[in-house]
Amino acid sequence: MTDATHRPARNKIVVWDLPTRVFHWLLVSCFVLAWLTSEDNRFLHVHVFAGYLMLGLLVFRLAWGFAGPRYARFGDFVHGWDNVRDYLRSLLQGRPQPFVGHNPAGGWAIIGMLLMGFVVTLSGIVVLGMEEGHGPLRGWMSPASAGVFRELHETGAGLFLALVGLHLLGVVVGALAHRENLVLAMITGRKWVEDIDTGVRHHSLLGAALLGLASMAAADYFAGYWLHGEEQAYQPFEGRPLPQSDTWNTECGDCHLAYHPTLLPARSWNKLLEQQHDHFGEDLDLDPDTLAELRAFANRYAAESGIDEPAYKINRSIPRDQTPLRITDTPYWRHKHEDIDAAVWRNPKVAGKSDCAACHLDAEQGTFEDSDMRLP
């Protein structure tokens, strides 16, 4: 306590209660995790978890902004423009006005970040529902209209990142101008300030509950990784089950994967079935009844049906006047697989382009979830 002798009027008092600190660092983790997993589809489920947790945290923070202790309240750090201007001016003059909680400029950065947090997570749920067919909004709208929300999601994330940059800049400037270690303060909750009674309690129980709840949610969400067996690798996303046909699975599933009808348009299936006696050099030798049944199933759930993301995107990618006989010849398939390393294709575990199951855990089900893909 040597510092106390140098600065007799100051003391280390509690400014940030525990729930606010837990919120802050969990939000930081979610933000970083979501950014790191935003590019690679294989980690989509981690990305989605970070989003859900972030939304939960934001809702908590909203409530805490009204019900929480003094410095956690919006009323404490949301200032009018005059105050912000005065503060920034004092900062430029090198004599910044002191604030125990957030300063007026920082306050607005926080409001901006909370707002962007809501924009990004909510639009994310919409995109997840439309493009991937998951989450609470699945099946509400077709993938066709997802574009706007995807834009919103990505722009919001960019703005969020910019605000985080400003916030970090503020922390650095604050550290220099006020000679405060703001990072440490957000960890311990204490700041060296004038010895006043702020009335802030730690609310340790609520803080611990928040942390516990987040951990439980994570354990529940990722439990599959510990429970999965050798034979059946864990599939983070179980796709919405596609319609199946026993006839299709037995007649088309013995030589290779029974490719689901969603993977090619109806005209392709019809041509394939017409040419059944020369099926890539094989004679399928199907009797008329079986053939009729297969044709009906294929036409009903062909790519045009758009019942899932691959169906919609494969169909959209094929020019109207073309009838590809291979899934691996469709522009969408080619585009999605063009970046795969040549070494992967040489791996003996991959029998060829059409050996979908070598890389897609859910190839049998036909759902081709982004995150159920594992390169061997």
Binding site: D254, C255, H256, L257, F280, G281, E282, D283, D285, A351, G352, S354, D355
Partner: protein, 133 residues
């Protein structure tokens, strides 16, 4: 009472097994009507690894190309790489239990390997060999 239950359980267990064996026996009987000699697992075994030139210039073809020489092991489709469950009924009890399936694949595979459909004699020999594994 317990005896009756035990008998019942036995019937439930054996019933399907017998029915399955019956499917194979029926099929063999049909083939036997057209065959010249009694079926021989030995002959089936010999034909199993016999190679035939491929009409398309690929590797020589044989039954073992996809199913392997050890029928108790998992096979691999020569063109698509898909794994094929073991054919040997001793490790895969579901094998040789469905006449339609057996007919279909004997026709298809014989055409693929030999370039023609197998005779009843050959089919019987193949099935006798697979059954003994």
């Amino acid at each position: 009472m317990t005896d009756i239950l035990r008998m019942l359980a036995l019937c439930l267990l054996l019933g399907p097994m017998l029915a399955q064996a019956a499917a194979l026996d029926d099929l063999l009987q049909q083939y036997a009507a057209e065959a010249q000699r009694p079926f021989s697992a030995e002959a089936g075994k010999r034909m199993w690894t016999q190679t035939h030139p491929s009409p398309k210039g690929g590797p020589d073809r044989s039954c073992s190309l996809c199913h392997g020489e050890d029928l108790s092991r998992v096979g691999k489709h020569a063109r698509t790489g898909k794994k094929i469950d073991p054919l040997a009924p001793s490790v895969n009890p579901e094998r040789l239990t469905d006449a339609k399936h057996m007919r279909k694949w004997l026709k298809r595979n014989c055409k693929w390997v030999l370039g023609r459909e197998c005779t009843a004699q050959e089919k019987g020999d193949f099935l006798s060999y697979i059954r003994s594994q």
